[in-house]
């Protein structure tokens, strides 16, 4: 302990990065990465399934907008660790679902707000034209409103994904944090710097890759936004 208290005197056997570590532990790293990706994907998908209908409800029924945004805002303000502290005792401390629920509650606001902003930006002319063509409320939602709101929805999904990737690591406190387990494990295991930094870099890379994938998918499903530019 006293040795590490003077951190600037680097131990020769404890470099910040080492290919040796990566080679020796690639299976562990890949397992952690897999858990990380799975948790992120599940959280964002579940959050989207809840959030988009909420945004539609707020779009259709204006009086609901305030309460929906206020509740998801309050959930967003509550620290992730506190959410975890409420959920984990109920579901069992080692249950990955505890982390998942905390992540979903957290991603909710980002998707609701951006989807609602996307829906509110649908031009009134487009709505009038759709109504004039005989679309009822639900048909108009599916064929006109939601497609035109896609840029907002995609923005919400991207923000939610990037912050969820970072947030998954919080689950390390109960051993369900994906790459966060490696970060915290490395810290607890004699300050194993190579492990901490490798897992950190992979977190950041994963966030960037998923963001790029979603951005690309967003461009594919909204070809008209490219032409108009």
């Amino acid at each position: 302990m006293s040795f590490h208290a003077v951190g600037f005197q680097d131990a020769p056997g404890n470099p910040w990065f080492s290919w040796q570590y990566v080679r020796d532990n690639y299976e562990t790293i890949l397992d952690a990465l897999r858990e990380h990706v799975t948790l992120t994907a599940e959280a964002v998908v579940i959050a989207a399934v809840i959030a988009v209908p909420l945004a539609v409800a707020a779009y259709w029924f204006r009086p609901l907008t305030g309460p929906i945004l206020a509740i998801s805002g309050a959930l967003y303000t509550i620290p992730s660790l506190a959410l975890l502290a409420f959920v984990a005792p109920v579901l069992g401390p080692t249950n990955p679902a505890s982390v998942l629920i905390a992540l979903v509650l957290y991603a909710l606001l980002l998707i609701v707000r951006n989807s609602l902003a996307g829906l509110n930006q649908v031009p009134a002319e487009a709505q009038d034209a759709a109504t004039g063509m005989g679309y009822a409320r639900f048909g108009r939602l599916l064929k006109v409103d939601l497609p035109l709101a896609l840029p907002g929805i995609v923005t919400g999904l991207r923000l939610a994904t990037v912050s969820t990737v970072a947030l998954v690591t919080v689950g390390a406190i109960i051993g369900n944090g994906g790459l966060g387990d490696l970060i915290l494990g490395g810290f607890r295991n004699n300050f194993y710097k190579a492990q901490i930094l490798t897992a950190t870099l992979m977190c950041v890379l994963l966030a960037l890759v998923l963001d790029l994938i979603l951005a690309g998918a967003g461009r594919l499903v909204t070809p008209w936004t490219r032409r108009s530019r």
């Binding site: 984990a88 401390p93 950190t200």
Partner: protein
């Protein structure tokens, strides 16, 4: 255990006066929590506001501001919290404060930049026409008109830092999160009550800071500017940046 029992146990734990006054009790941890948060937000302000105001004044570096926000969004808090103690900063509260300050910078920076940029160009022209120098325009026109944005950024950053300080407990950095981390260490049977109690304390503190600073933001925003700002917030990308990551 169901949710009701878990919360009842948490309340029982909170109701024990010794849990408040013992060394390392709630009062001690609350003090640590507020001290760490205040230092981090202060450092963040000292770094981010001058840069953001200056970039906004010159109108350059908008891309850099967005890049900084996006990059820090992708870096896990726990990564900085575990890496910084292993650098020259050493262990203790110092690396925790620095780590949290790093995450406080993006909202402060972005809001300072936007606050100056959104000032009506005609107002700035008028100020110049009155013979003000660049520095005078910044001090006497742009900064006063940017105050609502500075307040919004301050609130966002402060709430985020207070929430994130809970994670300092992962590296034994102090604060109210210690109860949660210690509880998880003890296991559910012995530590379940203090996990929920710690969660309640952290959540209530975050909501209280959010509420108080929302009031402050309202007070420092002159009434005519409130509507302008809401319109500005509605346009463009909407990234509410409270909370922690």
């Amino acid at each position: 255990m169901n949710l009701f029992d878990a919360f009842r146990d948490g309340i029982v734990w909170l109701n024990d006066p010794l849990n408040w006054t013992n060394p390392g009790g709630i009062l001690d941890r609350l003090g640590e929590h507020l001290f760490i948060s205040a230092c981090a937000v202060l450092i963040g302000c000292l770094i981010a506001w001058p840069i953001g105001l200056w970039l906004g004044h010159t109108g350059r570096g908008g891309g850099a501001v967005v890049l900084v926000s996006d990059l820090t969004l992708a870096v896990p808090t726990i990564a900085l919290l575990t890496i910084l103690p292993l650098t020259f900063l050493g262990f203790g509260q110092k690396p925790v404060i620095v780590a949290l300050a790093v995450f406080a910078i993006p909202p402060l920076l972005a809001n300072a930049y936007t606050g100056v940029r959104q000032v009506d160009p005609e107002t700035k022209d008028a100020a110049r026409g009155m013979g003000m120098s660049g520095g005078q325009v910044l001090r006497r026109v742009e900064i006063p008109l940017a105050v609502p944005f500075l307040a919004a950024g301050f609130r966002t950053a402060a709430v985020q830092v207070v929430a994130t300080t809970a994670l300092a407990s992962y590296v034994n950095g102090g604060g109210l999160g210690q109860f949660i981390a210690a509880g998880f260490g003890l296991g559910m049977a012995a530590g379940g009550d203090q996990i929920v109690a710690g969660g309640l304390l952290v959540a209530l503190l975050a909501l209280a800071v959010e509420g108080i600073l929302a009031l402050v933001e309202r007070v420092v925003t002159p009434a005519p500017l409130r509507r302008v700002k809401r319109r500005a917030a509605r346009a463009g990308r909407i990234a509410p940046a409270t909370g922690d990551a």
